[in-house]
């Protein structure tokens, strides 16, 4: 396991956090390469199904990021999302499906390239600390 590198899926909203990732890239800010980005139109588009699907497929961490509350391109998408995330995080923790350190949320605007790189580092660090995900992965069914 010494050469294990965490796989992290980042769901980034098209208008802010994805732009921030772009800005971090063109500004040549360094951040670890463990993050695979999935662009979504709005953080309000995130469905808990997506996050469970990512975990089922064996990612070690999930990071969801959108516009700052109040700055949503669709006015209020992330305000709805905010309630969903609060419940989702507590329920994933409650059921033990995602231990602390695997699931991260942030608000990052498209001007915050440095914040993006910094958050990416923090996410990777904390997933590394949590170790490889083993529990909630759909393996070949142990069936007859």
């Amino acid at each position: 396991m010494s050469d294990w590198e965490p796989k992290i899926i980042a769901f980034l909203c098209n208008w802010c956090s994805y732009g921030a990732a772009d800005l971090a890239g063109v500004s040549r800010f360094q951040y670890p390469p463990n993050i695979r980005i999935i662009r979504v139109p709005c953080s309000g588009r995130i469905n808990p199904k997506f996050i469970l699907a990512a975990l089922r497929h064996g990612v070690d961490g999930v990071w969801v990021s959108g516009c700052h509350p109040g700055d949503c391109h669709y006015i209020e998408g992330n305000l709805y999302a905010r309630r969903k995330f609060a419940l989702l995080k507590s329920q994933l923790d409650y059921t033990g499906i995602a231990e602390p350190g695997r699931l991260h949320f942030s608000w990052i605007s498209s001007a915050e390239g440095t914040k993006f790189a910094e958050m990416a580092r923090r996410v990777v660090e904390s997933v590394v600390a949590a170790g490889p995900a083993q529990h909630f992965i759909k393996k070949q069914a142990e069936v007859a």
Partner: protein
């Protein structure tokens, strides 16, 4: 609770005769002890079959979505709250409904009683006052019904209907109680213990979806378990699949679940599926001060927001 049977029949007949409603949704006596069958009475004669006792736990609001015509429905506290949810979500219109409110004294948990009988089979069960008299081939035993209530009834804080056109009895006294003792215990476990706990909890699941289908809040035309492009979860009894199902089912009813206990009662293998929904109920109450189905003036919490909503997920 016997008098309710009489008053339901009386009200049902009256409403049907007056053509106030096309049908009445209630229960008729079941064929096995501790079971009643949800029943649609369309004529005053059929209304004679209506009964009400401690075995009417299945939430009748489940039979409302997409109904046409007018209908009367017998509703205890939790049913009435589910009806409010249906009204909020446009599953039925208020003018179609005539709610016969039933102040509820809780529903009997047949599993709890079975546990006390050590495998002896109940052939008959009769309610008398606060007691249930059960008898089998060569035994008779009497139980204090209040001690053998379904767990959700034992911790119920809204026994009286919140919405009705007619109340069929005197309101009962509500209790003050910590509803979340069980989930708090789980919360305090270590992550590893939680995993094991929930893996074990869903282990007997046979994926029959009785919990989902007994739930009045589950009425999606296509459930996420049936979606194929993409398919979100497998149909096996692998714990990853069953946990995904139970997790998402609970999440779909977050802020809409009235803890009527139909899911848990319906489960043919006795899984405590309410452990999933209870925690969400607790969080919704804690974060947004919302209790499902108490008023028609407020949208369910996941269909609403405030500018200063807490953000405990950050960091």
């Amino acid at each position: 609770m016997q008098p309710y049977s009489e008053s339901i029949r009386e009200a049902a007949k009256r409403l049907l005769l007056e053509k106030r409603v096309d049908a009445v949704i209630g229960f008729r006596k079941g064929t096995v002890p501790f079971m009643n069958e949800p029943f649609l009475a369309r004529t005053p004669e059929q209304a004679d079959q209506l009964v009400w006792d401690g075995n009417c736990a299945i939430n009748l609001a489940n039979y409302l979505p997409k109904r046409t015509g007018s209908v009367a429905i017998a509703a205890k506290g939790c049913d009435s709250r589910s009806i409010v949810i249906h009204l909020l979500e446009n599953q039925i219109r208020r003018e179609q409904l005539y709610v016969l409110g039933i102040p509820c004294q809780g529903m009997t948990d047949k599993r709890k009683i079975a546990d006390r009988l050590n495998g002896r089979q109940v052939l008959q069960a009769e309610e008398n006052g606060g007691k249930v008299l059960v008898s089998g081939r060569d035994f008779e035993q009497s139980f204090e019904r209040a001690e053998f209530l379904q767990q959700n009834c034992a911790i119920c804080t809204h026994k009286n209907p919140v919405l009705y056109d007619e109340l069929l009895g005197q309101p009962v006294e509500e209790q003050q109680i910590d509803r979340y003792e069980q989930t708090s215990k789980i919360e305090s476990m270590l992550p590893e213990q939680k995993r094991l706990y929930f893996d074990e909890l869903v282990q007997p699941c046979i994926r029959c979806y009785a919990c989902r289908n007994a739930c009045p809040a589950c009425y999606c035309p296509t459930c996420f378990v049936d979606e194929s492009k993409p398919q979100w979860l497998g149909k096996t009894t692998d714990p990853t699949d069953t946990l995904t199902f139970h997790f998402l089912r609970a999440f779909h009813v977050a802020g809409r679940c009235t803890d009527c206990g139909s899911c848990e009662r319906a489960c043919p293998v006795g899984i405590k599926v309410r452990l999933f929904t209870m925690e969400l109920e607790k969080q919704v109450k804690k974060l947004y001060g919302y209790e499902a189905g108490m008023t028609q003036d407020e949208r369910p919490p996941l269909d609403a927001f405030r500018s200063d909503d807490p953000e405990p997920f950050l960091g």
